[in-house]
Amino acid sequence: MATLFGSAIRRREDPRLLTGSATYTDDIKLPRMVYSGFVRSPYAHARIKRIDISAARGAPGVVAVYTGADVKDRIAPVPCAWNPPDCDLKIPPHLVLADEKVRYVGDPVAMVVAESRAAVRDAMDLVDVDYGPLDASIDPERATDPNAAQIHDDIPLNIGFEWHVDGGDADAAFAAAEVTVSQRIVHPRLIPNAMEPRAAVASHNAATGQLTLWTTSQNPHIARFLCSVMLGVPEHHIRVIAPEVGGGFGSKIAVYGDEALVSFAAMELGRPVKWTEDRSENYKATTHGRDHVEYVEMCGTKDGKITGLRTKVYAGLGGYASTAAPGVPTILHGLVYCGAYGIPNVSGTVYGVYTNGTPVDAYRGAGRPEATFLIERLADLFASEIGADPVALRRQNLIPPFEDGHEVATGLVYDSGNYERALDKALGILDYDGFRAEQTKARADGRYLGVGVVTYIEMCGLGPSQVAGAVGFGGGLYDSAIVRVYPTGSVRVYIGAKPHGQGEETTFAQIVADEFGYPIESIEVIAGDTETTPQGWGTYGSRTTAVCGSAVKIAAQRVKDKAKKIAAHLLEASEDDIVWEDGAFAVRGSPGSAKPFGEVALMANVAWNLPEGMEPGLEATAFFDPSNFVYPFGTHLCTVEVNTATGEVKILRYIAVDDCGPHINPMIVEGQIHGGVIQGLGEGLLEMAAYDDEGQLLTGSMLDYVVPRASQM
C-alpha cells in the first residue's frame, strides 16, 4: 500500500469551507442570546474623569452596561503569561475595563449588552465618557526619554524590561575588528489582519456552574487556563471551543479581557452573550506585531569573515503586556542572532517599552523575522563595505553542513543543516550570474534591477517544556493526541493544538492512515474543543506538525502495538511472529492468516477474547515533549526593478528554497510558504501601522492599511 506521507492529497477540511457550511464563532446563535459591544477610548492616553451610562442603560433593547467600576473586583486583570528571567519585567495591571486611565486608542472603558447588534451600536453612542487627554508616547525609542509621557506610574522611562543576550565576547570582537558596519533600523509596527475578526460567544448554566466559551483562539487550552484566572471559575467548569478559526498569524494567541467580559456578562445575565469585533475595532483592539527601533552593528575581517554582532533594540509593547509579548522580542528574537552563520560573538540589549499603542504580541514568525532582517541587512552592508558580492559573503560565513547538532554562541543547538546547498539551489534556479549580467546591461540602459538574498535559520517547533519553564513561558510546550478506534474500525484523532488554516486535519490523518494501513476517509481529526481534546498548547511558533504531529504518531503507534498483541492472541501466535503487511497483521510466512486492522479493532472493542489481563478498548493518548526546537533553514532570492522616478518596486521573481524536513503534504507546505512570502513582501513594501504623535491610528481601517492584494503580487 502506497504511503500517504508525502502525498499532495486534497485537504479534508475543504468541503465545508468551500460550501459555506463551516461554523466560525460569529456563526453561532443560541436561544435567548444577546449581543455586546465595547466602548473604546478614542484617546491614546487620558484620564477618565467621569463615565455616564444612564442614557445607554435606558436605551431601547439594552440589557446591561458595565464599566470598570462594575467589574474591577469581579474580573482579575488580564494576565501576561511570559516572564523571561533576568530582565526585571514589570507587568502593570491590565484591567479588562479601564477605570482611571486609558493607555491606547481602543482601550475598552464600557461594555454594552443589548437584544440586537443594532441596539448595541446605538447604545454605545450614548455612553458619555469625559476624558482628560494626556500627552502620548508612541515611538518605542522616544518613549524612554525622561521627558516622554509616563504611561504607568511605577514604570520609569516606560521601560518594562531590559533583557540581554550574550555569546562569546562581542566587545572584544568589535575592539579587534578590521571592519565594522552599523545601521539604525525601524522595523515597523504591523497589523496581523487575520481575515476573520475576533469574536466570542459565552453561555453559562448557573445550576451546573458550567461556562462554555466559543472563541477565535489559536490555543483553546490556554484560553481556558487564563479565563479561569481572570474569572475565578475553576478550569473544570470552563469549556472553551475554538470552532472554525479564520486565520490568526499570532493575533489569536493572546487571551483578551474581551473574552472574560463576554463570559462574565453571560454569567451575570443568565443569557448567552455574543461579541464580534468589526475590522476597525480589530485594528485598535487586537494585538499588533513587530514595532522595533534597532541600533545594530556587525564586525569582521577585511577578507569577509563575520566575527561579531551587537544590537540595542527598543521593542514597543503597547499600552500593556499582552499574553506572550515579553517573550517575543527576547527569547524568540535575541537567541537567533547567530543566524545561519554561527556568528561567534553576539551581544544584544532589548528594552521592552510601554507605549500608547495597541498591545504588541506575536505576529508571523514573532521575533525571528526581525532578527533575520537585521542580520541580513548588516550582511549586505558588510559586503558592500569590503567590496564583496553579497552572495559570496554569505557563502563564506555559512555554517558548514552538519548532521548531529551544532551549538552556536547563544547556546542554541541547531539540529541539522546544509545551508550552502539551499543557497546553491536558489542561485541555480535564478541563474544568479546570468541575472547579474542582465542587471549590468539594464543599468547601461538606465533601468535599475536588483537582487536581494537572504539565508536564514529559524527556531521552530516550540518547544521543550523544560526550556519553556526556564525562559519564563507560563505553560508547557508539549502537545498531545488521543487516537480512538471505534468498533467498526473508524478512527477519531483528538489533538491538543488548534489548526486554523494550516491543514493538519489532513496531514495528521495522513500519518494515522499510514500507521493503520487505512483509507484516509476512515480517519477524522478533531481540534479546538477543550471538552474532548487532551491538554495541549495550541497552534503557533511553527509547532503543530513538529510537536502535535509527533504526539499523533506516537499515539497511533501505541494503538497499533496493542492491536498487534490482540492479533497475535487471535491468531494463536507469538507476537514476535506477527508481521504487518498491506494493512493487516499476519503470522510470518502464512499470509492467509491475515487479520485486517478493522477486525482487530472490533475484537478490541467487544473484548470477547483478549489476551489475559488486557484492558478492553482500542485507544491511546500521547503527550509529546520535544527534546529540542527544530531549525528549518533556507535561502530566498528576490529580483526587482525599481522605478527611480516614482520609487515603485516591481517584483520580477521570488525564489524560496526552504528545508523544513520531510513534507507530509507538499501541496500544503507550498501553500504555507506562498502565504508567508506574500506577508513578508507586504511587510517589506506595503504595510505599516502608523500613529500620529497624539497616538491616533492613521491606518485605522482596511481602507488605510495596505493588505497585499492579488493585483499587487
Partner: protein
C-alpha cells in the same frame, strides 16, 4: 420602524422584517442563517461578503436589504453542495486555493462573475479581477491557479454542451 422585505435567495423567496438601515449581509447572516457569507471588514475592502445579485458579484455589505428586493441573490450556499461542487469549488479544492477558508466564499462568487464575463482570463486579468477580495493566508498564488483551472474546466464543459 421595521419594514417588510422579500428577497429571492438561492431560488427561494424569504420575507423578513428589517430596519431600513439593515445591510443585506446582516439579513443573510442573522435573519436567514446563511452564514457562509462572511464579514471581514467594515469599509467594503475585503470582499468576504461577496454574493451574486442578478449574476454580478456584489459586496453584500454595500447593499441595504431593502435595495435588494426583487433581485435574484445567490450566496455560497446556492452554488454547489459537498456532493455536487461547482467547478470553481472543485478547482479551489484541487489546487489548494484556500487555507483558513474565511475569504473563500467571496473569492468563489467573485470568480463566478469574472469567468462569466471573461471565460479565458490571463493571470493578470484574474489578479485584477480579485482586486476587491483580500486573502491573508494563501498569497493568492493558488487562488489564481484555482480560477485558471476552473476556467479551463468550464470552457470544456460549455464546449461539450454546445
Amino acid at each position: 420602524m421595521k419594514r417588510s422585505v422579500t428577497l429571492a435567495i438561492n431560488g427561494e423567496s424569504h420575507t423578513v422584517q428589517v430596519e431600513p438601515r439593515t445591510l443585506l449581509t446582516q439579513v443573510l447572516r442573522d435573519d436567514l442563517d446563511l452564514t457562509g457569507t462572511h464579514i471581514g471588514c467594515d469599509t467594503s475592502q475585503c470582499g468576504a461578503c461577496t454574493v451574486l445579485i442578478d449574476g454580478h458579484a456584489v459586496k453584500s455589505c454595500t447593499v441595504l436589504a431593502v435595495q435588494a428586493e426583487g433581485a435574484a441573490i445567490t450566496t455560497i450556499e446556492g452554488i454547489g453542495t459537498a456532493a455536487n461542487l461547482h467547478p470553481l469549488q472543485e478547482a479551489f479544492w484541487e489546487h489548494h486555493g484556500l487555507q483558513c477558508g474565511f475569504c473563500t466564499p467571496g473569492m468563489i462568487l467573485t470568480a463566478i462573475d469574472l469567468l462569466g464575463s471573461n471565460p479565458d482570463p490571463s493571470d493578470r486579468e484574474i489578479r485584477d479581477g480579485l482586486e476587491g477580495n483580500f486573502c491573508r493566508c494563501t498569497g493568492y498564488q493558488n487562488i489564481v491557479a484555482s480560477i485558471d483551472a476552473a476556467a479551463s474546466t468550464m470552457r470544456a464543459g460549455s464546449g461539450a454542451g454546445a
